[in-house]
């Protein structure tokens, strides 16, 4: 196995006096696509932001390409690691293409404008997010699902090795869930990228993820291969709700109750 792209060593993350994880050892290697599961408010976003180096951990460290993420220049981190946030924060109008092109920022020198190559990368990302033809639309006029796809296209335009995605499937219809999560899985498997994404849909995690990281609250975590970790028993404990696994077409589907 290759050296991990992103690694957490003895990581303890706290928010508002509550532990998200305690002494977490976790690594994300090229080719892996890991699902981050946990209930509402358990700290999935906080953990992703800590792994992205946006907030300091309470203890332990995060290594990106073998070096602490907090001591590397932010621009270099942004060339290697892309973060999809749960919600967009913008309120000023811009076109869809301009919004996606923001992803090229870390790759451009101070005085450079986006080149034709950068625009081509953004257009390709928009196309794979199903937004072809909407390039000149104003981003605030998009529907919720289109807006979500635009945010994903922006991360794809950033073209990082490590994807940290906060609920990428949120607001997407079934067609785009399959298309975009399939694309991410292929990016990992075929191009040696690494993906860690928080998901609320267990069946999406079962279908697209090679491994699972569970946050139980109170700092307790569990990680491992999808087959071993994603069990009805663990999920019942995770969501404090009975979950059953049903065999289906050689795999399993999970249902509540």
């Amino acid at each position: 196995m290759s050296a991990p792209l992103l690694e957490a060593r003895g990581l303890t993350v706290e928010i508002a006096g509550k532990q998200v994880c305690r002494g977490l050892d976790f690594s994300l290697a090229a080719g892996e696509c890991i699902g981050l599961l946990g209930g509402n408010g358990v700290g999935k976003t906080t953990l992703l932001h800590t792994l992205a180096g946006l907030r300091p951990p309470a203890a332990g460290e995060v290594l990106l390409d073998g070096a602490p993420v907090t001591t590397q220049p932010r621009r270099r981190v942004a060339q290697r690691l892309g973060l999809l946030m749960q919600q967009p924060e913008d309120s000023l109008p811009a076109t869809v293409l301009e919004t996606a092109l923001i992803g090229r920022h870390p790759h451009l020198d101070f005085w450079r404008w986006e080149s034709h190559a950068d625009v081509a990368i953004a257009r390709r990302a928009l196309k794979s997010a199903g937004l072809e033809g909407l390039e000149q639309r104003v981003q605030t006029a998009l529907s919720g699902g289109e807006r979500r796809r635009l945010d994903i296209a922006t991360v794809l335009t950033q073209d990082p090795q490590v994807f940290l995605l906060d609920e990428p499937a949120h607001q997407l219809d079934l067609q785009h869930q399959m298309a975009l999560l399939g694309l991410l899985k292929r990016l990992a498997a075929e191009q040696g990228r690494a993906v860690l994404m928080s998901l609320h849909d267990i069946n999406l995690a079962a279908r697209f993820c090679s491994g699972i990281l569970m946050l139980f609250g109170e700092g307790e975590t569990l990680s491992g291969g999808t087959e071993t970790v994603l069990t009805a028993e663990n999920l019942t404990r995770l969501y404090r709700t009975p979950v059953a696994a049903l065999p289906w077409q050689g795999g399993r589907v999970f249902v509540a109750g």
Binding site: G82, D90, L92, P93, I102, V138
Partner: protein, 328 residues
């Protein structure tokens, strides 16, 4: 690629508008000049009377009006990015209120001329520092906290202004009200605003791509490798400084700083590499033309330029708003 045509279309149009606006504001007035005479004067010829009128009276005033308009538009653009709020203008964080209290204080003490400008400048800077220190608070520095602090401080200044107007003598009241509405007739004769505008635009423009990213949100900007905190502080300080200079030169002229950035966005998009210089030219032209009207429409009476700015800008802006496709 759509970038090049837009770039080619807006820049010559705005430069042509700027030159026309300068020609109009230099030619029109109590001594009207033909374009031919104006050309003679500007190329070093012309009769002595025309020379005096253009070079000593109209040109300094037009340049000053242009610079103040440009500074307000620049400050407004920066504030809208900083607060990520399309309703932000240069005065939203109380800079103009602080300046007004300083200027009116000088009027109350019976001072005039440069004392008023000095009072305005000191008031503006004090207000900037006050809001900055208070907004820092215990929980950090968010746009919402900054905005609410600024609005609260501005409300305080508003009360102080009302009090000063009540306390002022009848003699000083007229100058106070003119100052509050914005006015270029106290000609300080300096080129502070113009120097500030040139330096300010030159300093801000290289960071325009970073502004584009920051406009999309603080966390995203951080994740894309921007040092958000230093950039925000720099935006806040420079926007406040530009506003302080503008207010010092011309009083609190409303509307330009809020509306000009939106006008340009509707015409040529929101990329700050275009928006910063574009808003400067547009704001400068608007205020210069407004000032030309203010000193000629009811001559020999001079109207407050703030009134004319609104009279020109409100219909123009509403027309553009009505015409604009899609939501803002």
């Amino acid at each position: 690629m759509k970038k090049l045509p837009i770039l080619l279309a807006w820049l010559p149009a705005l430069i042509a508008l700027t030159l026309t606006a300068f020609a109009v504001s230099l030619a029109v007035g109590s001594t009207p000049l033909s374009l031919h005479t104006l050309w003679d004067v500007l190329t070093g010829g012309g009769d002595p009377l025309s020379r005096t009128v253009v070079m000593e009276l109209r040109l300094p005033r037009s340049l000053n009006a242009f610079a103040v308009g440009g500074l307000l538009a620049l400050a407004g653009t920066l504030m809208q990015v900083l607060l990520r709020n399309p309703l932000a203008d240069p005065y939203i964080l109380g800079v103009s209120g602080g300046a007004a209290v300083g200027a009116l204080g000088a009027f109350l003490l019976g001072l005039a001329g440069l004392w008023v400008n000095g009072g305005a400048f000191v008031g503006a800077l004090l207000s900037t520092l006050l809001v900055f220190a208070l907004a820092h608070g215990r929980g950090g520095w968010t746009p919402t906290r900054l905005l609410l602090t600024g609005i609260a401080v501005a409300a305080g200044w508003g009360a102080a202004i009302s009090l000063m107007l009540v306390l002022g003598s009848d003699a000083s009241l007229h100058s106070m009200i003119f100052w509050l509405m914005g006015d270029f007739s106290y000609q300080p004769g300096g080129s502070l605003a113009l120097v500030m505008l040139v330096l300010g635009l030159a300093a801000c423009w290289p960071f325009a791509r970073q502004l584009n990213v920051l406009a999309r949100g603080e966390t995203l900007a951080e994740a894309l490798g921007i040092a958000v905190r230093p950039l925000s502080v720099a935006i806040y300080i420079s926007a406040s400084l530009f506003t302080a200079v503008a207010v010092t030169e011309a009083g609190a002229i409303g509307f330009v700083g809020l509306v000009v950035p939106h006008m340009f966005r509707m015409l040529a998009g929101g990329d700050h590499r275009r928006l910063l210089p574009g808003a400067v030219l547009l704001g400068g032209c608007l205020l210069m033309l407004a000032d030309t009207l203010a000193r000629t429409v009811a001559a020999p009476r001079q109207l407050p330029v703030g009134v004319v700015t609104a009279a020109l800008g409100v219909p123009l802006f509403l027309y553009l708003l009505n015409r604009a496709r899609g939501p803002l």
